[in-house]
């Protein structure tokens, strides 16, 4: 059993730009350059027109909780340490119909977790932040909009 949080590979040509975007503080969704179809998670091909000319659009970082859960032990050791934590499926406000899985964190993005479970419901507005998990992985996470946005984070958005 691994001791660390499992990390995504970040060198796959299909989603390399997504993870680079996260490192730059931007949450990107895949966009077909030929037909305009937008999708998440990224794929090798546009299922609407079979194009492989796929680009990216930046989200505003504002979203709404579609659903959420709070996992309890038995968990992988790394998640046992940070629990209790909440994972949500978030609908980005500017890309209706897309849904993105994201852990909740505090606004500073110090770590997954650290959120009052009572602050999260379906429909709760959330804001984007990033939790740095490795030198190549900034995980796009969310915090309840009511939790307050630090001034420097607000400026980035």
């Amino acid at each position: 059993m691994i001791e660390t949080i499992p990390l995504p590979t970040t060198d796959d040509p299909v989603d390399r730009a997504f993870w680079q975007g996260c490192m730059d503080g931007r949450l990107l969704v895949q966009n077909c350059n030929d037909c305009g179809h937008v999708q998440h998670p990224p794929r090798a091909m546009c299922p609407a027109c079979q194009s492989m000319e796929l680009g990216w659009k930046q989200t505003s970082g504002k979203g709404t909780v579609w659903s959420y859960t709070m996992p309890h032990p038995p968990l992988l050791p790394a998640f046992t340490e940070i629990g209790p934590y909440i994972v949500a499926v978030v609908e980005p406000d500017d890309f209706p119909g897309l849904r993105i899985v994201g852990a909740l964190s505090n606004p500073e993005g110090d770590s997954i977790g650290g959120i009052d479970p009572d602050a999260v419901r379906i429909g709760t507005p959330v804001r984007l932040t990033f939790v740095q998990l490795a030198e190549d992985v900034a995980l796009p996470c969310w915090f309840p909009a009511g939790a307050g946005i630090p001034p420097e984070k607000e400026m980035q958005q």
Partner: protein, 386 residues
């Protein structure tokens, strides 16, 4: 020849076999598989040398050649494997049945052998430090176990339909009551009431311990023959009436949150094609064996197979709908929650026992059975009849 005439009622489940079910068994998975298959062949009255087709899971650890050379099978002519764990058993049976119906093979055996009582065998415990497949979009966030992935859907279902934990409890409680009558069930001696359910520790809100299947050891085998062959072997064989596998457009394994309607699962794709072929419709089903690794999957499947209306399954089970006196008894052996967890293979054997009239919780006069597989993976289903 139109539609499914080449398949409908052309094959039968002529034999079923199983080992003991337990938290830990001394035999290896290969030994357990051999024991279950031998029992199924004995039940069918078929000699091992007649078997020439095999079906199993891609996750099966006992390979076809070991099975064949241990059991003393003849030369094999068809062997297939079906992927996606809990979604696989009906596909494995249906594919073998197709080969038998078409005359490619004569007698088929499908089996599942599994030792999972040991916590180190849990699949999610084998997560790698770097993830290069679709799990990379959820596991780094802490959505690391199947129960977390299903909990996400149940939370939304409760929100959409006003369902409560007490409603969901009816699934676990109904199945536990069935298991309490079943001498083969792991939970035969452990009654459960609503208070015990609500007091149980949470695993992934809103799901508690009793919404999760058992971790167990055991093996099950099923013998498939032509229907006329089966009639020579016994008086009233259980016929395979209809079969389909199913996967929705843009399906994403277990984390299927991204389609236009996440509650129209792969079960919906299976169901549409199943009922298209079937002379038996959802309202004609007398007993159902619905895949239940997690209790919400029963609700989602009841709706996707048209056994309940959209959003109505929670009220249906809360009103006793799946119990022995309800309009549709479901998972009458105790299922994966309370009998044994063998990726749903026990749901097939219980369906066969119901149609033979030999089930421990026998539904009186039942003539039709739906068997389904995992709602949140690519899946499949069978309509069985007497």
């Amino acid at each position: 020849m139109s539609g499914s005439a080449a398949f409908k009622d052309k094959t039968a489940i002529a034999g079923i076999g199983q080992t003991a079910f337990a938290k830990g068994l001394p035999e290896t998975e290969l030994q357990l598989a051999c024991m279950a298959i031998r029992a199924a062949l004995d039940d069918a009255g078929v000699d091992a040398s007649e078997v020439d087709a095999l079906g199993c899971f891609t996750q099966e650890t006992t390979p076809e050649f070991e099975i064949a050379r241990n059991l003393g099978f003849g030369e094999l002519h068809y062997f297939s494997q079906v992927a996606h764990g809990g979604g696989a058993i009906c596909g494995a049976i249906g594919q073998v049945a197709m080969a038998v119906a078409l005359g490619i093979a004569n007698v088929g055996v499908v089996w599942r052998s599994r030792k999972r009582g040991d916590p180190s065998k849990r699949q999610w415990a084998g997560v790698q430090p770097r993830i290069d497949d679709h799990w990379k979009w959820s596991r780094p966030h802490g959505l690391s176990r199947p129960v977390d992935e299903v909990a996400m859907m149940m939370q939304r279902y409760m929100h959409d339909h006003g369902a409560t934990r007490e409603d969901l409890a009816a699934v676990a409680l109904a199945q536990r009551a069935y298991a309490n009558n079943n001498p083969d069930a792991l939970m035969r001696e452990k009654p459960m009431d609503m208070a015990a359910y609500l007091d149980a520790r949470m695993i992934a809100d809103p799901l508690c311990l009793f919404d999760n299947c058992l971790e167990s050891d055991g093996a099950i085998a099923i013998v498939v023959t032509r229907a006329d062959h089966a009639r020579d072997l016994c008086e009233r064989p259980v016929l395979i009436h209809a079969f389909s596998q199913g996967m929705t457009r843009e399906h994403q394994l277990m984390t299927d949150y991204h389609g236009a309607d996440p509650f129209r699962s792969s079960s919906g794709a299976t169901a549409d094609n199943l009922w298209r072929q079937s002379d038996i419709g959802p309202s004609d089903i007398g007993v159902a064996q619905i895949y239940d690794a997690f209790s919400p999957l029963v609700l989602f499947s009841l709706e996707n197979y048209g056994l309940c209306g959209r959003g109505e399954a929670a009220a249906f089970v809360a009103g006793g709908g799946m119990g022995p006196d309800g309009p549709l008894p479901v998972n009458t052996s105790g299922g994966s929650l309370s009998e044994v967890y063998l990726h749903g293979a026990n749901l097939v054997t219980e369906g066969v026992r119901q149609l033979r009239g030999s089930a421990i919780n026998q539904v009186e006069g039942v003539e039709t059975c739906l068997v389904s597989t995992c709602d949140s993976t690519p899946n499949g289903a069978l309509v069985l009849r007497r």
